[in-house]
Structures are given as C-alpha cells and as structure tokens.
Amino acid sequence: MEVCDVKTTTFSRTPFVFRIAQSLDRRAWIALVVAALVAFVLIPLLHLAIPADSIFHLSDYFITLGGKILCYAIVAVALDLIWGFAGILSLGHGLFFALGGYAFGMYLMRQIGRDGSYQSDLPDFMVFLGWKELPWYWYGSDSFLWSVLLVLVVPTLVAFVFGFFAFRSRINGVYFTIITQALTFAAMLLFFRNETGFGGNNGFTDFKRILGFSITSPETRVVLFALSALALMLTLVFVNYLMKSKFGRVLVAIRDAESRVMFLGYNPLWYKLSVWTLSAMLCAIAGALYVPQVGIINPSEMSAANSIEMAVWVAVGGRGTIIGPVIGAGIVNLAKSWFTMSFPQYWLFFLGTLFIVITLFLPDGLVGLWNRLRRMRGGESA
C-alpha cells in the first residue's frame, strides 16, 4: 500500500517532458526518429544538395506540396482531438486555420515594405482603398514576435468565447456542428468586405520576405517545411500523451456517456472547452505555417466546403486514432492534387463518393480497416 503511494507521488513529480517521453512506446520512438531523419536531413539534402537535373532532386513543387500537407495534417489531428476523442464535430475549423494564417499574413504583408506596386509603407490594398494609415489592429504587426503572439492568442480567444457559450448551454450534436458552420460562414462574409481591413476578396499575397530572408529561396522553403514537420511531430506526441492521461480518459467518457460522467461529479464544460480551445490553437499554428509556404491567404479558406473537407481527412484516416488523421490528410490531399491536375471535372464526384463510402462502409477509416485486416489474419493463423 505504502509502496503504491510512493510510486504515484514520484510519478506526479516527474518533469513534464519525462512524462511525455514515458507516454511513447518503443515503436513510436523509432517512428519519430525515422520521420525526423527524413524531414530534417533527407528531404533538405535532396532538395538543396542534389542538382536540379538529377532524378533524385526534389522540386520546389514537391516541397511546397509536402509542407502544405504537413500543415493540413496538423489541422486533421486538431480536428480529431475534438471529433474523434470528444465526439464534437466542428465544421468551423477553417475559421481558426484562416485566423492563424491572417495573423501571420499581417506580418508578411508588413515585411513587403516599400517593394509593393505602390511603393508605400502601407500594404498595397490599403493604398488602393485610399487609406492613409494602418487600422489600430495592424499596430505591432511589423514585429515577428507580436505576430506569433497574435497567432497563438486571437483564434484561441475566439474559440474560447464561442465554446464557452455553446458548451455552457449544452449545445451538442448537429446543433453545434451547424452553428460552427454558420460561424465560419459569417466570418467569411466579414473578411470578404474591404472595410474589414484584411484585403477583402484577394486577401494577402505577393509576400517577399520572412525575418529578412527571401520567402521563395530554397533554403527558406526547406526551413518552413522542416518547421511544419516539427510542429506536426510535437502535436502528435502531445496529443498522444494527452489522450493517455486522465484528461483524455474523461474526455472519451464524455463522448460515450456525457450524463453518466456528470453524475460521477465531473463538469464536462471545462473538459470540452479546453480540448476545443486547444484544437483551435493547433489549427491556428498550422495556418500560420501554411501561409508563407503557399504564399496566399484569402477568405475562401473560411468557406464551409473547406472546413467540411477537413472532416473527411479525419474520417478517411480513422477518427479516434492518433496517426489516422495524418494518413487521411495525406491521402486525400495527394488525391486532390492528382485529380485537379488530371481530371478536374471528376474531383467533386470523387470527394462526394468518398464522403458517402467512408461513412457507410468504413466508419473507422483506413486505420480501422488495417486493424480489422490484421485481426482477420491473426484469427486465421491461430
């Protein structure tokens, strides 16, 4: 009895980093090391050191596409956190992604400096609208650190306020889902307006520099790619830890039987609210990494269709699993790039069918399918 007590106290005194490290098993460690080697060594080498005419050379297109998919994968993991583990489907995550992108895009716009087509200190679209000075919410946007702070704080705050009101009145199920969709729709309308001060229809584009480095140079691309990979790995490790902790267990319990959890004395509000806010913050980080790599952010990122596509990444990979969303985001987006290049007509047919087939026949996604196949083979050999 005494031994047991001692053990738990030492466990809770273990530093956070060690506790996170303990949450990973050996296979996960190996996978992480391999992924790190690929993302931080192999791909940069193939892009920078191998000459462009060699077949081993990775083109700009590949690095950008890869970086984009890594950002989408972070979004998918974030969405899985709230949908797969807490049972709350959000169709508004595009909003948090775009808000993060816009917050960082403001910094990138200011970095253009006087190199815009109007050679003004103000961003081009403001000159075009005849504005004489920056709106108040643009102050400080020339500082990198302030922008990073905005990326972390603004979307999180929006999510917190919205989530607080929604979860407090126990809005859930389809109600919550549709209201998140309405939220991102309303925000899209707002950002479409020129008077909102974020470039209206066209949003932000034509970025030139980031921290003084040219944004299109191969080195910058590789660094952004590696940062996205790092962010994804950290997200995965953290989500894995979180879901194995008591917090994660309570969350899953809320998903499966909310009233029972309430009767046991937990208040689901704070569990839901914190995971919702965390999910929004991860999305915002992904958005901030996405914008410098893709080179544009505009209000269409907030369209309902975008957010709902995020849900299908999670569904394809397998909701409620850690690695599933990453696989789903990768496969769906590779398919999208391939379709939109080869048969743009059929992409929507494919996507629509994917929605139906996954929900009807593969509710656990590809990871679920893999597990089922393995179990079947195991059953035969036994």
Partner: protein, 536 residues
Amino acid sequence: MNFIISHLLSLLLLLVTTSAAAALDPAVLRDLASDDSDKKIAAIGELLASGDKQAEAVLRAMNDNALFVANDRLFYRVDGKALDAATGAAFPDAPDYADSVVVNNRVRGKLQNALAAFQLFNPDRDARLAAAKELQSNIDSSLIPVLKKALTLEIDPQIKKLLVLAHAQAKLHSPDPKERLVAVRTLSESNSAEVKSLLLSLLQKNGDTYAEPDPTVREAALAAIKSIESHLAWGEALSNVFSGLSLGSILLLAALGLAITYGVMGVINMAHGELLMVGAYTTYVVQNIFRTHFPDLADYYVIAAIPVAFVVAALVGMVLERLVIRHLYGRPLDTLLATWGISLILIQAARVLFGPQNVEVRNPDWMSGSIEVLANVVLPWNRVIIIGFAVGVLALVWLLLSKTRLGLYVRAVTQNRSMASCVGVHTGRIDMLAFGLGSGIAGLGGVALSQISNVGPDMGQGYIVDSFMVVVLGGVGQLAGAVWAALGMGILTKLIEGWTGAVIAKILILVFIILFIQKRPQGLFALKGRAVYGGV
C-alpha cells in the same frame, strides 16, 4: 358615368385642337431651326402653349431627328412622306438631302418634357398617368400654362393629384412670394425624394442670402420637408417589412422540408439546398419544353413546373433516403457528412449537365411588373405571388400533417419513434415518405427561387445554414415554430440590413441565435413533455 365624361373630354380636346388648327406661326418655326438654343427652347414653349396637334407632330419629328430645313422652310418626314411643318400638308419639292435641326442635350430635355405635356391631353388614361409621372421630375416654369389647362380638364383624381404637384413645382420659382408659398404648401403633400431635394435647394445658403429670399416661404419649406420625410419613412418601413416577408417566405419554403425531416429522423440533410437547386433546374427544363413544344402556353410553364418539381425532388429525396440515410440511422454526424457528399455530387452533376454558368429562367408576363402602393413602395409581382405561394404550400402541408393518416404517422414518429413502432406504425416507410415530402417541398421552394434569383449549380449552398437556423429557432417538429421563425428572421434581417448592411446583419442574426439558444435551447415552440429528450 366615367365613360360619358371621358367622351366629353375627348370631344373637348377635339374642339381645342381644331380651333387652333390654323397653320403654325412661321416666325416660331424659324426660331425652332435657329442655332441659338435659347431661341429653340422659347419656340418649343410657344408651340407647347398652343396645344396644337400639328405642333405636337413637329416636336415629335424634331425629337426623332426627322425635322429638316430646306430653303428657309421646315418640313418633316413621317413614314417616308415629307410634310410641311407649318400646315402638315404634303411638301412636294423636298430635297433628298437636307440638314436636320440640331438637338443638343439641353434642348432635348425640354423637348421631351413638352412631348410628355402633350400626352396630358391624350384620351387614354394610362398615357395621361404616365405623362403626369414623367413630369414629376425636372419641370420648369415654361410648362405652367399647359399644366393649368390640363388641370382644368383632368377628371381622374390620381392624375389630378400628380398634376397639382407638378404645377406647384413649376411655380416654385415664380417671382411672387405668395405664389411660392402656396406652391411649397402644396408640395408638402408629396412623398417623393426628388421634391424633398428640390425644397432643400430653397434653403441653401449662398453667401449671406438664401436661395429663397422670403422667410415665411423658407419656414413653410422646412415644414414641408419634415412632412415629406415622415411620408418617406413610412414608405421605407413598409417596403422593409415587405422585403422581410418576402425573404421570410423563401426561408419558410426552404426550411419547411428540413423541419419535417429533422423532426422525424433527427438528421440534418446537408443536401437540402441542392434539392432546392433540383427544383429550380426542373423549372428551367419545363420552361424549355414549353418553349419548344407549346409556345402558345409558354407563359404558364411555371404552373406546370410546380407538380413536376415536387415529384422530381421527392423522388431524388426518397432514393437518397433508401440508399444512404437509412443506413446511418442513429449516427447524425455521419449522416451530415454523407449528405454533404451527396450535395457535392449533385452540384457537380448540375455543372456537367447544364454547364457551370447560371441558366436563364424567365418570369412569365403575369408575374413581371409591380404594384405601386406609395410613391416609394413598389412591390414586384413575382415576390407578392411567391408570398402567396408559400402560404398555399404551408396550408397544404398543414392539412397533410393534421388531417391525413400519413400526417398522423409522421407526427407519431416525430414524437416517439419506438412507441410508434410498437403500436404498428411502419417507421421505415414513414421515414422514406417523410423524407420524400420534405424533399418535394424543397423542390417547390426551388420553383419559387427560380423566379427571383439566379439558377446555377451553387444556388442551394447558401440556404442550408439559414434554413437550419429557422429550424433551431422554431423548435423541432413544430410547423408553427418554423413559420414564426422564418418570418421573424426574414423581417429582422431586412430591418437590421437597413442600418448596418447585409454582412453585419447576417453576423448579428447569428449572434442573436446563439444567445437565443442559451435562453431557450428547445426553440420558440418546444414540444411539451418527454418527447424532446427522446428525439435526437
């Protein structure tokens, strides 16, 4: 009575015109052809004052650039014949090439006013009304004598009222302050924004002096402006309420079907907006069939489109229910995703079949045009008819749900599915029929939408959120709730739009709904008892 009076009137007009049927004054005609615009305008005024039929013909020809000068004499061409401007008799030695009388913009304005003034004596009431309306804007003192004459002859009260206003406007610049005062007082009866700005121009300060020197007239003008403003405000409020009703009726048509399917099955059909699109495209196809096969009846294609759209959309809905939605029972979030997939497929199918551009659906003649309630309240017929249509659909749905056996079953399943199943209701069939009904109503909504907005592949996308909001506001499984919510949302949206613009209005409405759900999570009209918890 009216008949006799109008005959008397035309007789009188005949007398007026015949009495002046002598040849036009050649000096006036010469001025008409002079190079000086002021002289031209004066000549137009004199011709107008004569009230002569021949003078009207000459001015009309001048407006059509068909008045020519040859050897110091004027002639005009009508239907290829050359006629003498002074008498209207044939003009034999007309040269093939002659200079037409030049009409610049300033002269043309006067000319058109004069032509409108001539129409004031037309025996046809509609022509006189149109002329009187045209004279409401840009009027000047040269028309005073004509207006006076027209006023004495006019018997129609509506036209008379307009003429009084026009007359007052023309007198506004008369040198006599008493006449100006009377004019201003008369104008306070008006409800047009143009008269208001005209009066405002009197109050303008030019250095130390006002445009209007007399202080009593200025005071009267101020009072008149206030009175016009209040008329205008009433009109504006009225048109806001009307456009709110119109939006509400569209929302109702879109939300009614959703309310039924959500009530019965607890699933949100994200393809509901696309069923509206199916209805609208069906209307388009029916229109084209009528154009090619029954061109005589082309104006009535809308009536034929109503049942066809209902059946097509209902069939699409029932197929979806059988193939997809039925298998996702009890998984509302998955249903959401699957039906979104269906909507993507339907949109792309519409793009492939009909092209990505909007297609043209024409209003039939009996639906175009508008009725004027006040000067600034004009109600387009198509919107009025659609409000009526929505009321009709609502009545039918209500009858169906409350008076038929199917309706009884639908209500039973909505309230308590397992109990209904226990007492022998075939819930599977009811699901399919209810889904068909809801989809069919969406199809009807599509017919209505095709008459007032663009028909394109994406047209349904905007409606799903709005119609779901109506369902949320109204409460599940309640027709009355859906009706009040749709109308309330429509009117509220339009009123807020009036002072914030469309985008902010949309956001405010959303915030309002989120706050509303805090207070009443079960909507405006909650079902009583346990049914609410058994549902979703």
